[in-house]
């Protein structure tokens, strides 16, 4: 569908940190700043997490605990497809009567794409359909946790010392009583009142401070330093003689999907839980208002807040392009669509001679000088076959046709270059009624919102010259 509409032919200029030229369908409009915003000049935030295969929403606390992985779904370690649980019947002896056997269900994981199964890796079949599969644990977890605790202790000691120095420096006039001795005492018996008051936002240090109160030697965590080895394992002899079994060797991509283990052999590739995806909300950087906020439900594609540019700014589309010849004037038919419900007045201007925005145009353009009036978008008019004449007096040289909220108009283009694509640019000025502005108490009969005039720089790429 995107190629049918060819949105890349018409670009709107966004004045953010950098000047970006983007089709209107990819832009957002901040109602409060009254400016166009592109994806580069808004701040992105993670809104909600969900699993792409079971479409289950996951609250962010749970996501953090599960390391952003779904609890029920697995990924095939070979081809990254989603695994499905299959069941077989196996005979198993009844618990009360060992002689009779009954069929019990056993479940295993299988990939529909590459035919990998959990039995290939040696994982036993489980008797419950879900929840039985465990990921293997990293063997170094204990050592790493001990290291972290040890360093935490050192860090905390450094912080205490730093604070002590800070305290000592900050109070050159402190009374003799609060001398080095007192500081030692304070340190030894836990955080004194003064230090505690200063660090009100640090409950964690307070926790450690409590433990040190009992005596500094009690919680001293030491770790044994790592031992270096004299000899390492040599390359196995059979590397030179054994032919390589390619299906057994894991590719680098498969290996790196499991950073903790990185197995070299495919028989050690265990499946991992599926990684979640997230929904994103966008926020204008200047006024901090939300521009786009999706629904919470993963199955819904609607938005709670959707300030997209196509629903506020009139859109220009190219309808037909005649043969363009060098230095010959041709008429191009464009359409202008009004997305809002009230009448919009649009005027077009050519760019000035030394316009800094106008860097790409390769042709001169003559736009209609009169103001174009667009009627409001009326949802019911779509179904109304007998459209009433709208009573607009249109100049037939300028306006080709008019249909509910859309008009077609001509512009005249004179290509200036002999070769290359023809690009033209002009300014589009329209009035915008800000319905988001707070409604001041007005008397009857006054307009409830003021119209402000917005100007946008539009660039059209009309294709190559006719040969």
């Amino acid at each position: 569908m995107a190629t049918l509409l060819q949105p890349e032919k018409v670009l709107y200029l966004v004045r953010g940190e950098k000047k970006i030229r983007v089709p209107l369908s990819q832009l957002y409009f901040c109602r409060y700043c009254s400016e166009l915003r592109s994806l580069e000049c808004v701040s992105h935030e993670v809104d909600s997490h969900f699993c792409p295969s079971c479409l289950e929403n996951m609250p962010s606390a749970e996501a953090k605990l599960k390391k952003n992985r779904c609890a029920n779904c697995f990924d095939c370690p070979c081809c990254m497809h989603t695994l499905s649980t299959r069941a077989t019947n196996i005979p198993a002896p009844l618990p009360d009567d060992p002689t009779k056997t009954t069929m019990k269900k056993a479940y295993y994981l299988a990939c529909g794409f590459c035919r990998w199964t959990s039995r290939d890796v040696g994982m036993a079949d489980k008797s419950v359909a879900s929840g039985g599969w465990q990921e293997p644990e990293n063997p170094h977890t204990q050592r790493i946790n001990k290291l972290i605790e040890y360093y935490q202790q050192l860090a905390q000691r450094e912080k205490l010392e730093r604070d002590r120095k800070k305290l000592a420096r900050r109070r050159p006039f402190m009374p003799q009583a609060f001398s080095q001795h007192t500081i030692h005492v304070v340190e030894k018996y836990g955080l004194g009142t003064r230090l505690q008051r200063q660090r009100s936002g640090a409950p964690i240090s307070a926790l450690y401070g409590l433990s040190l109160k009992e005596g500094e030697d009690q919680k001293e965590i030491t770790i044994e330093p790592a031992q270096a080895l004299d000899e390492v394992e040599p390359l196995p002899e059979d590397y030179y003689t054994r032919p390589v079994n390619l299906p057994e060797v894991t590719t680098l991509r498969q290996r790196l999907l499991q950073p903790d283990f990185q197995p070299a052999g495919a028989s050690q590739l265990h499946p991992r839980h599926k990684h979640l995806l997230m929904k994103r909300s966008l926020r204008c950087r200047k006024c901090e208002h939300n521009l786009s906020k999706p629904e919470f439900n993963p199955t819904s594609i609607k938005f709670k807040i959707q300030l997209v540019a196509v629903s506020y700014i009139p859109e220009v589309r190219i309808m037909s392009i005649p043969n363009l010849r060098h230095m010959k004037e041709s008429q191009v038919l464009l359409t202008l669509t009004n997305p809002v419900e009230n009448i919009t007045h649009v005027s077009l201007y050519t760019c000035e001679e030394e316009d800094p925005d106008d860097i790409n145009s390769t042709a001169k353009v003559l736009v209609p000088s009169k103001e174009l009036v667009l009627s409001g978008k009326d949802a019911a008019a779509e179904y109304d076959e007998l459209a009433e004449p709208q009573g607009f007096q249109d100049d037939p040289d300028v306006v080709a046709f008019r249909k509910s909220n859309k008009i077609g108009f001509f512009i005249k283009v004179v290509p200036q270059r002999e070769e290359g694509d023809v690009t033209v640019a002009f300014k589009l000025r329209h009035d915008f009624r800000n319905l988001a502005a707070p409604i001041r108490p007005t008397e009857e009969g006054e307009a409830t919102s003021e119209a402000i005039w917005l100007t946008h720089h539009v660039e059209l790429s009309l294709g190559p010259l006719a040969t």
Binding site: I144, I148, R169, P234, R280
Partner: protein, 373 residues
Amino acid sequence: MPLFEGLGSGGEKTAVVVDLGAAYTKCGFAGETGPRFIIPSEIKRAGSPEAVRVVQYNINTEELYSILKEFVHLLYFRHLLVNPRDRRVVIVESVLCPSHFRETLSRVFFKHFEVPSVLFAPSHLMSVMTLGIQSALVMDCGYTETLVLPESLERVPILSAWEALPMGGKAIHRDLQRGMKIQEARFNLDGSAERPAPPPDVEYPLDGQKILHVKGAIRDSVAEMLFEQDNEEKSIATLLLDTLVKCPIDTRKVLSENLVIIGGTSMLPGFLHRLLSEIRSLVEKPKYRDALATKSFRIHSPPAKPNCTAWLGGAIFGALQDILGSRSVSRDYYSETGRIPDWCCLSTPLPDSVYEAGKMPPPLMKRAFSTEK
């Protein structure tokens, strides 16, 4: 799990730890035992069929800025799934990273993603943190280059004794592509001078249609390039020995018995064994025999795969919330001064110079932890 992980309200959120390598990027959270993702350091752009490398040092700032911005966007919103504004960032980097790259990267983080603070941690120092020892000689065999840096007592890098060689995975790739000069394998397990029979050939299927025939001889000799000595008689093994020669004499024994090898290229099967054997044989050569008295070499095995060791060190450091804040460059400092402190630039004042009266080392080389009582 440490006790306070359960206290959700107190303390700040865990920091994000990123190791931007030339070939692969490791990203994850502080306090965890391994990176969440190891992804190739490249982005796909709509225009070109090939992926664009992220870690490039020769392109202009604007292009680098947009590439880095896209890549970091992917990291946050496809892999880590967190808000950039909430968490501090620890970037594990090589000490030889050009300032221009660092500054562009920090501009991306501060200006575009508005992170609260950034800490640039040297990868060699971080690897030593995973072992719990005081000093070590760290060799990072990465994609573009191999860099050796010793860390002595109190974990201060001896910056004057660094050695580097542009030999890494990239050189091996280049050789394979050029369809190579086959070197003779000079070294054997049993010490004999003969070359063993080459390993069997491999037929490697590509794309479902083509098959790549890899001759056996290439399989065993292409990695030889890492160990052959070039015109300056430098190879990976001599790097280590040269570094030892440059270090102060009293540290040499300690360093040689605490070797740490990190980096993806060192995960080649048999690499460590070959490296040790090369070192042991080179030490007998006249060049080193007189200079180095120590003959014992020992290798550590860190609690992580060699390509994640530096990341793990960064994660351990990032879990120390007490001091992470004070050692990072905060957003306020960056918006005031507009630059990040660099070890090679003396003009940046220390942010907390009040406390360091007397000793003024450049910020990155601060003592990792003071153990004074």
